[in-house]
Symmetry: C2
Subunit: 221 residues, 2 copies
């Protein structure tokens, strides 16, 4: 296996439903300027045409800024806009199918909710893992309680054995204030929506999070 | 341009929301036994995983019965299950993008609602057209009134000039009883959901429709 050629440490999740009316391109650019190292674009409510148009807007920025972009769920959108890959959950296409469409160089991320899921998953099909929900979140409703940093650590250890070298990010409810506990549980990064993209100053919010992830106290809040 | 290698004359549209609880594979098989020559599978409410699983079930039947299958909207699903193509509307991916994913041999259908849309559309990107809504329908809500056989005939004439040789099917609200008017307006076929798939006896309903489309009076009702 190659060394991962991407950095998931400050992983932003951009969603057209959570922009406070600002443009997606503007938000992506501000987040990357502030220190986001990896971007996921997801859209749960748009039709294909709007999702596609929006994804074109985002990929223009990530290409210019040289930050990887993955599309949530929709392999066709990822292919059409030439994104770097997809992020998949258990309601989405199996990773092997996505790989067949997108090719060996695509970055494929997979959400994992439990040690059982990690063990059942064909681990070779994904390039990184998102593990959670670490904390409760307003942006996605699940009927299972959050796993906390302790639950994260358990799944993370399991993945370290099953998929050595593949990065694992914590997902859900993570902010600059609580990300330290997730990083301490051996996360390679944290995936964040609201704490970045719902902020008034997205660039400053991303910088504050990036700083906290790196564990130095110089928080630009 | 090659002669179309597919027959859209009796065009069934299968939708998991309109099955009366019967299995998709069973419905597809019965419809084809009854005379459906072309099948579209659409799903507006399922997540990707369920849509994919359902499409695998349908394509197994269409392959065995040697009838083309197109997937509505989702190019990724079409690719994953190796369907024959996609059917696209104005909320879906542009046909040229779908072509890039699916290749030159894919069958790409495009919905056209008006002469203006027909003239604006890059006609070379599609292999056949669906024109409507011919009649009012319960299975899709649009805020424009149905065009009737007269409106269909007008768009059909326009497409005959713009895209000579490409088949055109009438869509929406078509039944074995009214399909004669659509065929008389120079349709190459009719696309039907409810009149086939909501029937108690799907095979008999398809046979009745096929017979009516061919214009002979021998209705097997």
């Amino acid at each position: 296996m190659r060394t991962p050629r991407f950095d998931v440490s400050v992983y932003g999740v951009l969603d057209p439903a959570r922009t406070h009316g600002r443009s997606l391109g503007e938000l992506a650019d501000a987040a990357i300027r502030g220190g986001v190292t990896f971007l996921q674009f997801r859209s749960k409510t748009q039709n294909t045409r709007r999702f596609l148009d929006a994804a074109f807007e985002v990929v223009k920025v990530t290409r210019a800024r040289n930050v990887p972009l993955v599309i949530n769920d929709r392999v066709d959108i990822a292919y059409a806009v030439d994104a770097d890959g997809v992020h998949l959950g258990d309601e989405d296409m199996p990773a092997a199918q996505a790989r067949r469409l997108l090719g060996k160089d695509a970055i494929i991320g997979q959400t994992v909710h439990s040690v059982d899921e990690a063990q059942a998953f064909p681990i070779e099909d994904a390039d990184y893992f998102g593990v959670g929900a670490v904390y409760a979140t307003s942006s996605k409703q699940r009927d299972v309680p959050p796993i906390g940093p302790e639950g994260f650590a358990k799944i993370r250890r399991s993945l370290a054995t099953l998929a050595p070298g593949k990065p694992v990010v914590g997902i859900a409810g993570i902010t600059w204030e609580n990300c330290g506990s997730v990083m301490a549980a051996k996360a390679d990064g944290v995936a964040v929506i609201s704490d970045i993209f719902m902020a008034d100053d997205v660039e400053a919010a991303a910088r504050r999070l990036a700083s906290a992830v790196r564990g130095n106290g110089e928080v630009a809040a």
